[in-house]
Amino acid sequence: MMRILRYLLLTVIGLLLLGTMAPAMELSGDFAAVLAVEPVSIESETSKFKFDMEGILNLELYLGDLSVENAMVLSIGGLQFQAVKLESVLSWLNIDDTFIFAPNIIEFDDDLMNTVVAASPDTGGIVGVPLALFFQDPVSQLDLTRLLSPTLNGPLVFRKKIVEVTTTATGINPRFVILLADLGSTQTPSLQFGGIFEVSGCTPWGVGLSAATYIGARGGGECFGVCKPEERLYSGRVVEGLSLEEEKISITGIELGGMSLGIHASFDLRGSSPGLPKLEIESSFTWQGLQIEQTALLVHGLQLAQDRLSIDYALDDLKLNLSLLDETGNLSYPCKQLKLKTNIGRLQVENLMAISPDSGLYNALTLSIVTSGIELTSKTELLGGGFYSERLGLGTEIAGITFSSDVTFHSGFLLRGRAMLQVEF
């Protein structure tokens, strides 16, 4: 722990020294301390608590066209994540260079569930887990910490480097991303390379075009530590071998009879013969004050796999969105979702109502109000028509320190509590 504190202190002093050496330099950042607790047992009202505590430090140093960002996550086990990003902006060239240090690396797919496809070290029971379950927070925050903590036993080592170069030349915007990841263990590193080469631009008629080639890399993301929001990256994930993996092509902004069209095609280039494209066709238009959007997903040789219809309506403070989803391919839209957002005086109201076959009603009602400088929020969820969860939150700012806390009750028990203090400088 002392070693970690020394390291933290040295980093801060180092950046402060740099800041004082050059008067043009500017240092800013924020520090957050987060405490999450959950009851050990719900058998009695006097349960002991399990808890997780962490500190998140973000530092940003600006020196003209160069900036240095440093993000660190410290937990009970010590320093579990560090990211250093160097960004330089020239007149026509932008270079971002990011280094990630962590004891582990978790790779997840860009599918609906953000499914884990690889973990290093792989201590079992992690591959195949849907991270969306934890990212969207229907479970306790300590669950993911429990799941990933066996992978944190090793020292902090280099895990990933991302070099992103973007430039603008005569209306064409090339973007090169070089990825280098260590997918091995701390004892036996296994470095893998990958790259994403993207070209985008716009025709004189306003049609946007982009093409991205993935070599030794695929869409998706990687996360580190216990995969907290600060520890997630969505810049693509490196895969073994340096072969063509994916090709993504987008055409947007096609105007046709008052309708705007967009086409996104994704080709899987693995194997001897490139697979048929996954095609997403978006269309949108306005009719009688209604904003209507349709998104069709075609797979396996243009077979309709999913169709979404979204209708937006706004009147003063009231915003309504009706979404219909069809996964049967016959446009019967069995799943329906209605979102409502409005203000009644100082009270902000959001309601999400979803109905699908066999499941009945899902409803989430969020109310928030600011009174005497304190923000109070409540979120009530119904599942299958019955009560599922209630989250109560409180947030305020005193003398430049932001304080927020919330407790979540599920049907018949306390799931977890959380408190956070944050200061910006």
């Binding site: 003063d316 409803n363 299958g384």
Partner: protein, 171 residues
Amino acid sequence: MKMRLQTYGLLLFSFGLILLLSACSGPQNVKLKVGNVILRPGERGTVTISVINPPDLKMIQVGPVGKLTFDPTVIHVIAVRGINGFQVLASGIDNVAGEVQFAAGFPGSSIGPIKNGWVWVKLAIIELEVEAVGDSGAFCALEVSAVDLLADRNGREIMLAGIIAGEVILR
């Protein structure tokens, strides 16, 4: 002005409805659903078993009383696997009687509705790898006779509102 009043009237009605539903706090209409699959003779495929409206589901056990039944002259079950975080702790496959039993759990966590652009309240937890052994045109139902245990993250029993059978069709 009239439209605005109508809008707020609708809003108040919605609140009243939601409060009424919240006060009911009844069961969450939890169901087990076996999926469908179409195969060619000799082909292998997968059938998923999903839970609809999973309220912090952690454990499921079909057996020793309950079982998933199928016609062994139409398909054989090759493997039972856990998906979406679920791990099969024990399983038994009888391709003579046409029965499968299993126990599965999600170590360290539980599942609930996932909100990822859309609210997904149906989550697959078990995958059966099946092989079509019957002739073209044959079909069979995949029925779960009973669920012995369905428990949440605190070990409390979850009341099951229904079981929806699946089907395998050979084309």
